[in-house]
């Protein structure tokens, strides 16, 4: 049973629909007590980092997420939800994140090394390049997935499972222990996205059986 965190920032419907297509049970909640019944949490989210953090804090969901991870529960952050896993973001002035993975969130410059202007947001289908083996990309080939974001994560190479190239090397799948993040939208990334979500589900199901 996947618990989807509802803190008022994100397209929860498409995430839960994606899980439904995989035949997985899920529930949406903003209540730490309810969410604590799940071994696998998904933190979705679109919008501003600062607003998202203050909403999480207001509902004590930041504390819940840290405890959930410390207790060995799985956590998958999607899009803004992935960025929130890191230490801080420069979006609208520096703001603190959940600090579950070391790193910071920075904006695409919009101008490359040769002074050529490029489009921000990074919007559309880009190809994953696998960097490290992880349970979430196990058995999968490098494929295109759907990105929409103006900020990206600057983190140590050791936490990057897969990246995509958009001016810089953009961390696309990150992981540290039982914490995972996807910068793209797996629920909107066709068959590849569904396969990635299925791998995360398998992890959670393994934990539920154990």
């Amino acid at each position: 049973m996947i618990g989807i965190v509802d803190y008022g920032m994100g397209n929860l419907f498409s995430v839960s629909k994606g899980l439904e297509r995989l035949g997985a049970d899920s529930f949406i909640s903003d209540d730490p007590k309810e969410l604590s019944k799940s071994k696998g949490i998904i933190l979705p989210g679109v919008g501003s980092f600062r607003d998202a953090m203050s909403l999480l804090e207001k509902q004590k969901l930041d504390k819940f997420l840290r405890e959930h991870v410390a207790d060995g529960g799985y956590l998958l952050g999607i899009c803004l939800g992935m960025q929130l896993l890191f230490d801080e973001s420069e979006e609208n002035g520096p703001a603190k994140g959940l600090s579950l993975i070391p790193g910071k969130v920075v904006r695409f410059k919009g101008v490359d090394a040769n002074d050529q202007v490029y489009k921000v947001p990074h919007m559309g289908w880009n190809r994953l390049e696998f960097k490290h083996a992880s349970p979430v990309n196990e058995g999968l080939e490098e494929e295109h997935v759907y990105f929409v974001h103006s900020y990206y994560v600057d983190t140590d190479e050791s936490f990057i499972t897969a990246s995509a190239t958009y001016d810089v090397e953009v961390p696309a799948i990150v992981g540290k222990g039982n914490v995972f993040g996807m910068q793209f939208h797996p629920e909107k990334s066709g068959k590849m996205g569904m396969s990635l979500l299925r791998n995360y589900l398998s992890l959670v199901e393994g934990k539920e059986r154990a």
Binding site: S14, V46, P121, M123, G124, W125, S150
Partner: protein, 252 residues
């Protein structure tokens, strides 16, 4: 590398897909949910639904369409037409759409772009611009109300204004080319794409696969949208992508 997107557009009226030739004559071309699944299978990168219902009852049906489509589709989709308020945006996005497209309402009240962008983030807000060349202006003029009403806005000025207010993408339709199948309006597309920092979707005039290549390479479009050539199977998304790949355009 980021791929160029091919976006079939489905004009929806009272829950059914139709396509107007130069916005006037309409032909029924099928069921939205079925068509959405078909285009997903074909390799479409995204879908756009434009609600062109004239009546209040007709417009209410779009929410059901959005819900049904969201339940089965694993690629992003945008919904436009008749979205006049933040409440309308909430209704559509909560029903499962990924983006909303604003047109007339944004011109009438530009603050709507700011409101939507602040609430949902720029990535959810597409501003659709209907453009027609104007001799007097010496440039393209923005039209509203389904292309019926000329405005005071010059297209590039309006595109810049929309982006400064928080539009995450521009859907640019050339009324001069729409329905003619002679190719996208390259000069217009290039002018807008180079003027704004966000992705631009070229629309209006697609007649064959080569037209897409020209829109991407010369028009600097990030995505290209078409309706009738796909709906009436004059070509397919699959064929267009195979052609583009052969020509060295990066597609999924």
């Amino acid at each position: 590398m980021l791929t160029k997107r091919i976006i079939p557009c489905l004009d929806v009226k009272d829950g059914r897909v139709v396509k107007g030739i130069q916005f006037v004559s309409l032909r029924d071309a099928g069921d939205p949910v079925e068509l959405a699944a078909f285009y997903d299978q074909e390799g479409a990168d995204e879908l756009v639904f434009l609600d062109i219902s004239a009546s209040h009852e007709g417009r209410e049906t779009i929410v059901d369409v959005v819900q049904a489509v969201a339940g089965s589709l694993a690629i992003p989709f945008t919904v436009g037409g008749g979205i006049n308020s933040l409440a309308d945006m909430k209704k559509i996005l909560r029903a499962g759409a990924d983006k909303v497209s604003l047109n007339t309402a944004a011109v009438l009240r530009p603050d709507l772009i700011n409101e939507g962008s602040e609430y949902f983030g720029a990535q959810c807000i597409v501003v659709a611009i209907d453009a027609r060349y104007d001799e007097e202006l010496g440039s393209w003029r923005v039209y509203t109300h389904g292309g019926r009403k000329p405005t005071e806005w010059e297209v590039i000025d309006w595109a810049k204004e929309a982006v400064s207010r928080g539009a995450g993408e521009i859907l640019l339709t050339s009324m001069d080319c729409d329905g003619e199948k002679q190719g996208f309006n390259i000069a217009l597309t290039k002018a807008v794409s180079e003027a704004v920092s966000v992705p631009v979707i070229a629309s209006g005039g697609a007649g064959n696969a080569e037209h897409f290549q020209v829109a991407f390479e010369e028009g600097k479009a990030d995505a290209a949208l078409a309706a009738s050539i796909f709906h009436y199977k004059e070509t397919s998304v699959k064929e267009v992508k195979a052609f583009l790949k052969q020509q060295g355009v990066v597609v999924r």
